[in-house]
């Protein structure tokens, strides 16, 4: 009699015990892969990378940091779009520095194997000022706070700005003639999966 009960308890612990409802809720909130785009370094711009690219999410490779650089049009009715030619510089608590270049869909990341930083991190954004030489960088902005523990930029940087989010990772100094990139999946722009659905009445 005791054995079936023990087996049931063990099964329950194994199947339910390791679930994280917060992470599951986040994973459920993310859309499917955009049609026509396979998983690659260019996929799912704006999404919290480590939701999947982590030990919990189990996508390969495991990331330590990942995000997407955006331009935010002044007209609030227009949606933010991804930017290339930007570089993110990160400094960890032990003074180690990494520069991560945004790809053509605005995505930047570091695998955990390449860099397992000591949190908190300071983040700076740089713009490539010389089209012929991407190593010439001009500072765009510095993140006002530190990254405490979450390597997914989009865990906090969610469109639109709200009391709970500073908005997307936004380049401040963007040339007026910059256009949204072609051949990229549409960006994920919320809604904020951390919050319950609230509607104005």
């Amino acid at each position: 009699m005791k054995r079936p009960i023990f087996a049931l308890a063990l099964f329950t612990a194994v199947t339910l015990g390791c679930d994280d409802p917060m992470r599951d809720r986040l994973l459920d909130a993310l859309p499917d892969e955009a049609p026509g785009f396979e998983p690659s370094a260019f996929h799912r711009p704006g999404q919290p990378c480590l939701a999947c690219h982590s030990e919990y999410g189990a996508a390969d490779p495991e990331f330590s940091i990942g995000g997407t650089v955006f331009a935010v049009p002044k007209d609030a009715t227009e949606a933010p779009f991804m930017l290339t030619s930007y570089t993110v510089r990160l400094i960890d608590a032990e003074g180690e520095t990494r520069t991560l270049r945004a790809n053509r869909c605005g995505n930047f990341f570091s695998t955990k194997q390449d860099w397992d930083p000591a949190f908190p991190l300071r983040a700076e954004l740089y713009r490539e000022s010389d089209p012929k030489d991407p190593s010439v960088l001009v500072q765009d902005s510095i993140m006002a706070s530190r990254i405490g523990r979450d390597g997914s930029c989009a865990s906090c940087h969610i469109h639109p700005k709200s009391p709970f989010s500073p908005g997307v990772v936004e380049a401040v100094k963007v040339a007026s003639d910059v256009a949204p990139p072609s051949d990229c999946p549409p960006p994920w722009l919320g809604p904020d999966p951390r919050l319950p659905e609230i509607t104005a009445q």
Binding site: M143, S145, P160, P163, F164
Partner: protein
């Protein structure tokens, strides 16, 4: 003879009822009596002085992925992280659903957001004081070492802390907080701590 027996029976019945009634009344009146003497008053360091400490807590503890989160019991509000919305105030509550209002009021974290408000200072002060109110009272009275507080044990890494050790004993961060606990906040140490990267 029968008459006398009836009298005895009535007397016994009256005694029994009287006893039960007395017992019930006694229990009823005394059973729920509690000591209504007020508990010893709690003491806490001042809100006014905390406003010098709050920016440090906002920077060190209050990022959106740490204590700047509604999911955290020890919650820190401010310009560097979570913004406080008074949901009982109809004008502010709309910020939860109206991005235009958020933009107009600067009620978002980071660059361009409005400075930390009085309401946010108060919320942070309450967070810090309500963590261990009895122990804080003892610390405020000088009866207990400040290091016994979770408020210091966590960032010192003495007590389990997801964010690990945030500062070390004797650092300007440490002195900033302990000086507030001592009742004489050190503005210079708090300013120095804020300059740390």
């Amino acid at each position: 003879m029968m008459h006398a027996r009836a009298h005895v029976f009535t007397l016994r019945l009256a005694l029994r009822l009287g006893f039960r009634l007395g017992l019930g009344l006694g229990l009823g009146l005394t059973g729920c009596v509690v000591d209504l003497a007020p508990p010893a008053p709690l003491e806490r360091p001042t809100l006014e002085q905390f406003k010098t400490v709050s920016p440090l807590m906002e920077q060190r503890c209050g990022s959106l992925d740490c204590h700047g989160s509604l999911a955290r019991p020890f919650r820190v509000y401010g310009v560097r992280g979570l913004r406080f919305v008074d949901i009982l105030n109809p004008d502010q509550a709309l910020e939860l659903v109206d991005p235009e209002l958020v933009r107009a009021n600067g009620s978002y974290p980071g660059t361009g957001g409005k400075p930390t408000s009085e309401a946010e200072y108060t919320q942070n002060w309450r967070s810090a004081c309500a963590l261990e109110p009895e122990k804080l009272t003892q610390v405020t009275r000088g009866e207990l070492d400040p290091d016994a507080l979770l408020l210091l044990k966590k960032p010192l890494g003495v007590e389990g802390h997801k964010g690990a050790a945030v500062f070390i004993k004797g650092s300007s961060d440490y002195v900033c907080i302990t000086s507030w606990l001592d009742g004489e906040v050190s503005e210079s140490e708090c300013a120095l701590a804020l300059k740390n990267p």
